[in-house]
Symmetry: C2
Subunit: 148 residues, 2 copies
DNA sequence: GTGATTGCAAAGCGTTTGCACCGTA
DNA sequence: TACGGTGCAAACGCTTTGCAATCAC
């Protein structure tokens, strides 16, 4: 399984510019923080990390940048038992996630078997299925090691 | 597929009493509202509906009752794209949900194929999988009909 | 230069807490 | 009677908005 590491930041910048958004120092700091993270981050964490590279950054800018990135489908909100304000980059092909509940690390996996299941449920329930979420919660290898 | 309708309220009352909680008029109103609903409801909706049967009810009591019911695993928080503050009764056997994004109606289905998938992902990623969420989002038969 | 972007302060919103009174068991 | 439950008002934390100054293009 491929480790989720960094995403091509240049693509993020291009997409932002193609939509009329400007590349400022503060925005770069926020984008880099998220794109380079291998774990889910909430606004405050993003703020704290980004601020190390751009001292003048305000929390408000983090929120505004998150809104733009989400709108461009570069990031997605991640739902967890203790809240749903964390974010993580979107990968192509709409794969599914395993999230470490200790450190927030994320891995992706494919769920080929889901297609038939969704079709079956749609038939039996009479619902038109628009979207689906499959998410596994657990403890990653590093955190298993650390808690010994 | 079985339509999710009402849940045996007496069981809810028993469980509350067995845990040292008292049955007041306000609490009954809140419990009945949730147990009799076939769709997800947020605190304000629960408040509005329950208040019809108990005019003195305050929103604070709704929150406090929700906390107790969730702690007793009688209800669960439901996560949706536009927020995660809605609740729905828990059914035995940890089945999965299809939620109508128009009206909030819920149907349950079983996901037998998931066991092997989770085992596979656990092996390949090195994660200890503790929990999983599978949730389908769509439009129920009633809402399809109404939007014609 | 134009218009997007910024930080600050303030407003907004959903949720929780402190408290004195009330009601169940 | 004892103690859990209640509503109200206030506090709280997270998120959004108004505004004048700033900066990318």
């Amino acid at each position: 399984m491929k480790l989720s590491t960094s995403f091509p930041i240049q693509d993020w910048y291009s997409k932002l510019q193609n939509h009329g958004y400007r590349l400022t120092e503060t925005r770069r700091a926020v984008v880099e923080t998220i794109a380079n993270s291998d774990r889910v981050l909430d606004p405050n964490q993003i703020f704290a990390i980004s601020r190390e590279h751009c001292a003048s950054l305000g929390l408000v800018t983090v929120y505004r940048t998150l809104a733009k990135l989400e709108q461009l489908s570069l990031i997605q909100r991640v739902h967890q038992p203790d809240g749903c304000s964390a974010y993580f980059p979107v990968v192509d092909g709409h794969q599914h996630m395993v999230i470490c509940q200790d450190c927030g690390r994320v891995e992706y996996f494919t769920g080929d078997t889901l297609e038939s299941l969704m079709k079956r449920v749609g038939m039996e329930s009479g619902y038109q299925i628009h979207d689906h979420w499959l998410q596994l919660l657990g403890k990653c290898g590093f955190c298993q090691e650390n808690s010994r």
